[in-house]
Assembly symmetry: C2
Homo-oligomer: 911 residues x 2
């Protein structure tokens, strides 16, 4: 017996039996066909029809584009069954059955073949139909549509080949709108279109309805490997093996009078999620007319007045469909002479807000579980709710109007509108003193630009990648940021920049979309949600936390019992820490102490400390810094009372605190050449220091624990400040949990050389202050060698925190400062790398190290606290891996905490 290639919409049970699951039915019949059959099964009125399977498509493509054995017979049989249901006959001259043909794969995808309507008409049946309907204009218009669609869609003749002669015809007669054309006009035009087919293809438009049908089916199958479809599948990562189905459905007409109509609708408001029908319809019209916008459509609510019976049916059907699919639906319908027909249903697209509301309402309505609700929200949707966004419509218009004049890496999401300034000082002055909204534009940023960045609404750089300084700081502080916008040519002397022939001067307005990476001229309107007021989001994240904790109880770090994967935050200042806590962070995974060194009143002290000739002079300067650091930590510990706070000791190379070498050399050369002596000697002396601290590859240089071993005074001061602050906070009645993190460890001996002397300071401070509290000493794992020798290192370190930025940098050998600009984005574009490993953890390489390291570290110390504090901590795919590796927490910027909470729940649910 031949295989079954064709399923009537009634045959859905049979299809499900064969496919084994609903997912299988969708694969076999395509999404559209499966849902048509499914609606039929649950008693929703669907015009009779059938689906030719995706397997038939694959068989057709595998055998040199010939229909597989048995297929055509099954089609003819299915047509017979439809004839029986409708009482019409396919190809009949008096009362012909007309059908439409539509493609439909498992996933909806652009580039597949379009719809062909009215299959089954020919010169003879036209006469019969006119007789039957008494409406010659309607019939000839329908026939004209068939010939035109068949020609362009099935026979692939260009649209203009049909449009040109029709336009000429109308012009000759002074006709403008299609509605002005009469039956005779359409008849003439139909004949013209038949000639077009004959001219282009060398054969006549097929009068045999069966041939029309067969050619349509073959054309759908053939379009599976059309260029646009292939490109789309490659880009979206959809398998080329799926194939497409073909849906053949009886035509119903919404243009048969005022008791007819057609429309599209959502079962809930896709913008807000409100539980109301949302959509448009037209009376006495066809689907095309609704979409084309020739006539003004009516809101769906008015249908209740126009056709109360049909409206009631529709409301019932929508309820039924939501009940059945447990999802908000996007539907198409037609009413033919009072009779209601559903032509399509599918899950509806919606805004983040709507998604949230709908998921929660569905739980309230008892339709889905909390787990399902949490899974229905994507991390991107949560993220969108936390940043100012451009108005969707305005964004679209701006693009169409050509206001988008540059683009770059979407480094930190959100919308920012402001005036352009080109240096940190000006940016800060304009913002603070004049209250301007500022967009800071730089080639790249450095630590001493931070004050300007913090004062800005948005940041735009022409260099750097997703983990460049600008990107990291911007994400940290939730500032929208685009980096590596290489089209931009900056002229810092002329104070302007140019991109694609548009020049923007200092003070001009631009709008930066950190979510998409686009830069626009002028001011685009934005909307800004607030976290605390978003009740639905708060509800959903509470559910997420419950799911994450769930039954997956792991023994957590001592003093902080952990269930599942916690979400901590990276925060340097008390205000960040409070925000993080508000957003649901259960600890601070990374407080970077060096940011504290860059503040204006401290930097000169830091520079004198670095340039000190002796340990004594250095200590003298450090003594001045100690109170600053202590007060920084004080606020942090107070804000995080009861929760762990990991403070990382100084990490960057010292030259970052000094002027830039190239600039200094240029300055000195200029002074020398001009014979200027004032201040020259000081600059020359400074140059000697800068040169001696200059490194060819500073990322792999004298920083982190290496610096602490060569120059221990700095970290000794820092540890003293940490413990003095914690002691003070404790004495004020709070509950501090400091954890001291040593960065850049590569060898256990680095820890054994420095940790004991720091622990001694800790004990000393506690003894002097007469107070005790829990604390830990641990290390970053960011050097591959540390990961490879984790068992040794865990014998000394009480916690591990993956610095995945550096770990990725070293494991790949990709300079974070340069790679994205030079080759990394090309790699991602060309598919050499599946994703940018600085945005999402590379499981095979970096992840493998993390997995080994976690397991081996716990061998030496079963209660080892393991987390991640790199930029990846807020990335949902990376969070999945962290869950898989058994980490205790991920730590990310405060603004990502809600996103990470959701992602952690998804990971816990195995999604």
């Amino acid at each position: 017996m031949a295989e079954k290639w064709v399923y009537l919409f009634d045959d859905v049970d049979q299809a499900e039996k064969k496919a084994g699951s609903w997912e299988g039915v969708r694969a076999l019949l395509g999404g559209k066909g499966a849902n048509l059959a499914d609606m039929t099964r649950i008693g929703v009125p669907v015009p009779p029809g059938f689906t030719v399977t995706t397997e038939a498509c694959n068989a057709f493509l595998a055998h040199d584009k010939t229909l597989p054995d048995g297929l055509w017979d099954q089609v003819l049989e299915a047509i017979k069954a439809v004839e029986k249901k409708t009482g019409k006959v396919f190809g009949d001259a008096k009362n012909p059955l007309l059908v439409s043909s539509r493609s439909g794969a498992k996933f909806s995808m652009p580039g597949m073949m379009d719809t062909v309507l009215n299959l089954g008409m020919n010169d003879k049946s036209v006469e019969g139909m006119i007789e039957l309907t008494g409406d010659a204009r309607f019939v000839y218009d329908s026939y004209r549509r068939l010939v035109q669609m068949f020609g362009s869609v099935v026979l692939e003749i260009t649209d203009t080949a049909f449009e040109e002669p029709m336009d000429e015809y109308k012009e000759e007669r002074g006709l403008k709108l299609d509605t002005e054309l009469e039956a005779e006009d359409w008849k003439t035009i139909t004949e013209m279109f038949k000639k077009v087919i004959k001219k282009h293809k060398g054969f006549e438009f097929p009068q045999d309805p069966n041939e029309q049908l067969r050619l349509s089916i073959e054309a759908v199958f053939g379009s599976w490997f059309g260029k646009r479809a292939v490109d789309y599948r490659n880009a979206a990562g959809i398998s080329h093996d799926l194939g497409t189905g073909v849906n053949i459905m009886t035509m119903v007409f919404g243009n048969m009078g005022d008791d007819s109509g057609t429309g599209v609708a959502f079962t809930r408001d896709p913008a807000t999620g409100e539980r109301v029908l949302y959509g448009d319809y037209l009376l006495n019209a066809q689907g095309e007319d609704v979409v084309a916008g020739i006539r003004n459509t009516k809101p769906i609510a008015e249908l209740e007045k126009d056709l109360p019976e049909a409206y009631k049916t529709f409301v019932d059907i929508c309820g039924k469909l939501e009940e059945h699919y447990k999802e908000m639906q996007d539907v198409e319908f037609t009413i033919e002479r009072g009779k209601f027909w559903m032509l399509q249903t599918r899950d509806g697209k919606r805004t983040a807000n709507a998604a949230m509301r709908i998921a929660i309402d569905f739980v309230d309505e008892g339709m889905i579980s909390k787990e399902e609700a949490v899974l229905r929200i994507t991390p991107d949707q949560v993220d969108a709710l936390l940043h100012p966004q451009y108005d969707h419509q305005a964004l679209q218009s701006a693009r169409e109007e050509g206001k988008r004049f540059a683009s770059g890496v979407n480094a930190s999401p959100g919308a920012a509108v402001g005036r352009v300034y080109f240096d940190a000082d000006t940016a800060e002055t304009k913002a603070k003193e004049e209250g301007q909204d500022v967009i800071m534009v730089r080639p790249f940023t450095k630590p001493d630009d931070v004050h300007g960045m913090l004062a800005s609404k948005g940041i735009l750089t022409s260099e750097g990648g997703a983990t460049s300084h600008a990107a990291v700081v911007a994400r940290q502080f939730g500032i929208p940021c685009i980096v590596g916008a290489s089209e931009i040519k900056l002229d810092l002397k002329k104070r302007n920049f140019t991109a694609n022939d548009i020049t923007v001067k200092e003070g001009d307005w631009i709008s930066v979309d950190g979510t998409t990476g686009e830069v626009f001229l002028g001011q685009l309107p934005t909307t800004m949600p607030s976290f605390e007021e978003q009740e639905e989001l708060l509800t959903l994240l509470t559910w997420a936390d419950e799911i994450t904790a769930g039954d997956d109880v792991r023994e957590g770090p001592k003093g902080f019992p952990t269930k599942g994967l916690q979400v901590w935050a990276n925060a340097d200042y008390p205000a960040d820490a409070r925000r993080a806590r508000d957003y649901g962070a259960q600890g601070i995974g990374l407080c970077r102490t060096e940011h504290m060194f860059f503040e204006q009143e401290r930097l000169p002290i830091v520079q004198r400390m670095i340039l000190a000739d002796s340990s004594e002079d250095r200590t003298k300067e450090l003594d001045k810094l100690l109170p600053f650091q202590r007060s920084d930590f004080d606020g942090l510990f107070e804000a995080m009372t009861g929760l762990p706070v990991i403070v990382r000791l100084i990490d960057p190379p010292l030259h970052e605190f000094l002027p830039e070498l190239v600039e200094l050399v240029e300055e000195i050369a200029t002074m020398r050449a001009k014979g200027e002596t004032k201040g020259l000697k000081e600059k020359e002396e400074l140059l000697v220091s800068v040169q001696s601290l200059h490194e060819s590859n500073p990322m792999m240089g004298l920083r982190g624990v290496r610096l602490s071993i060569v120059m221990p005074e700095i970290v000794e001061m820092q540890v003293r400040a940490i413990f003095e602050a914690a002691a003070d906070v404790k004495l004020r009645g709070f509950d501090p949990h400091p954890e001291v993190m040593i960065p850049l460890t590569g060898h256990i001996n680095e820890l054994t050389a420095i940790q004991p002397r720091l622990e001694e300071i800790a004990s000393d401070v506690m003894e002097k202050k007469g107070v005790e509290f829990e604390y830990k000493f641990g290390t970053m794992i960011e050097i591959p060698r540390a990961a490879l020798t984790a068992e040794e290192i865990a014998s000394v370190a009480e916690f591990f925190s993956y610095g995945t930025n550096d770990l990725t940098q070293m494991t790949f050998g990709y300079s974070r400062d340069d790679a994205e600009r030079n080759f990394l984005l090309t790699y991602v574009e060309q598919g050499i790398l599946p994703v940018n490993p600085f945005q999402s953890i590379d499981g095979d390489g970096v992840g493998r190290l993390m997995e080994m390291c976690t397991a081996e570290g716990r061998k030496a110390r079963p209660e080892l606290e393991v987390g991640i504090c790199g930029e990846h901590g807020g990335d949902p795919d990376s969070i999945k891996l962290c869950h898989k590796y058994g980490l205790n927490y991920v730590s990310c910027s405060p603004f990502r905490v809600p996103v990470a909470r959701l992602a952690a729940a998804h990971a816990a649910l195995g999604k």
Copy 2:
């Protein structure tokens, strides 16, 4: 029963039974004591005596410096046994037994307690001894020595406390030499010395011989934790748990007339290895006199005339000892009134040449196997034979005369004497045009300094580490080189440098010792061995190769059957390849193609190629380079006919071929400030290119395969050149085996993106030339991620070659250019790292990656050829690891090939 703490020299069998092995006996009795007992056992005349064990020492130290139970009784018992043998009585007034006391641990080490002679004398026995010998002067002199030695060695009174009064005494009486002093003088001096002891210690010199003995033994034990001994053990990596033994031996006197004498000798010539007794003796003298050099010693051969009987005994004993120890011996002897006594024997130190000759002679004499012979030569000794060396004596004198004025990292071994020049061009001109011997002195070197380096006899830099550019190039070409000599302050404008207050001007002579890292003023004499003429070395290395191949037959890469670990060489030019082959290399593991780009006539073409705006312009320049590259490869393939040649495609970042950014900025700033316009525009344009290619961390930047993917034209040219050259060579009747190596791979997709198009070029060339030959495409493994995903990568790569320089750099996160200068040497000094990982592979981290990678790579491709081409390929410890990991070959600079051959044999023997 108390433990046994004391062993008579006769008790060696008992000691061996207890200790379980000869190694155990050496640990128990110390090396000196063990050999004394051993000599006694085989019938060599040794003065009767005993050893107090190292265990006794440890027990003494563990229990608050009290002698363990039973020890003293056992000492007294042993003394009784010695009295019985000698017929003398310890402490007897008439015929006293005198003994010496000497320390002796398992390994000989400086800093332990010195010898005390004549224990057992006191005021009473002096009289008896004078009566017995009739030689009052001898007796009082002996007594004086005891008091002096006991005071300084046992009681730790400073030497000057004894020397000053004696000098005064002699001065008062106008006496100069000790030989001018009479019996009465020595008697007086002895009394003076006793007073010194009383004054310093508050007690009298002990008259009780037992107390003398006990205090001596305790003093030896106590000296185990003396500062010098502890420091030495720390430096030499000797365990502090070993403890020292004490050897008590009957005194024999070589100063009892002309039938007495004393001497030291080697059983073979320690300079040449010749089979002759080699040493000195004095008649009627004590050991001290031989060493002190007061009297002229006689060569040992003359003893045959002076004391034929004793000489014959000595020759027999030497034969017996060599037979017994299978080693050349370093012995001490004394002849007392015609009777021959051996006081010590141990394995003798020797020059590299002697070691070689002795090992081979021992094999010829049937005493040891070839394996043992090979194991007796150290890699350092082989290395010493391949480089010009300073005359040992001259070196010593130069140090003493203060001519050593700076030191640095011993980057490339050998002696170089020349005149100082400060830039590559001058160095080259002076060397080539004036025939001068040149030492090039630079802060550091860059690829465009290579022509000057190649023309120099030696290289000295003030910056950089063991794998800096200067070091790598110098080793590659066997040029002695010191890097990172940070004491040196270079003044390139004044054309001089200063170190430790010594200023060296351009043109001055200096001598550079690349073996030790020392820099000397002036010209030190050198000697230069030649490889081909060193028959012993050739013999030994042939044996080494046989051992390496041995039974350890691994299936090698197809076409090149491998047994054991082969040694290949890194060579860029045909001359290097020929040298490598002469030195025994079995392939070329690394030909760096970019050196070829730096040659003078090519560099401008390379620069134009880099700056080209279009792919066409670039290809035009590359077409000009192709013939150069082809001819480079042609010579290489011809020289290596029948053997594999791995050619690495272009690796460094492009900016290395352009001027340096900082210099260019300085130049332009100066021109601008001075208003100079000529050539300014060109320089400004160049600056734009240099800036656009500038990277913050170039080591992790756009280089290697990344460059090939972004700009494939260069490697396409290179592969064409490789295969055209191989084809030409094949057509001339040679047998080329090219292997194309893609550098810096981190992801399999990098290979799949580039390798197929290169393989296509290979096929294309072979087809056009109408010739076929074997070839491979493979990759460097130098990025940790490549090692972590080896199984995937081996599915495409046909061979792996570890680039351990970069792999170490990335695994540790240590910038090769900076780390040694900034912290790495400090790390090694402080013991944070056991060795510099750029010199010797870090087994725990980098090695672990290599081991995983090799095993997983072979899972995917069992015949995978795996080797190492980093600087570590010539390091013996690293070679051991490579053997352990199952590599097919190590590749090192041609000059290291013999060293590596020996080290490979050692590895094969498990040593």
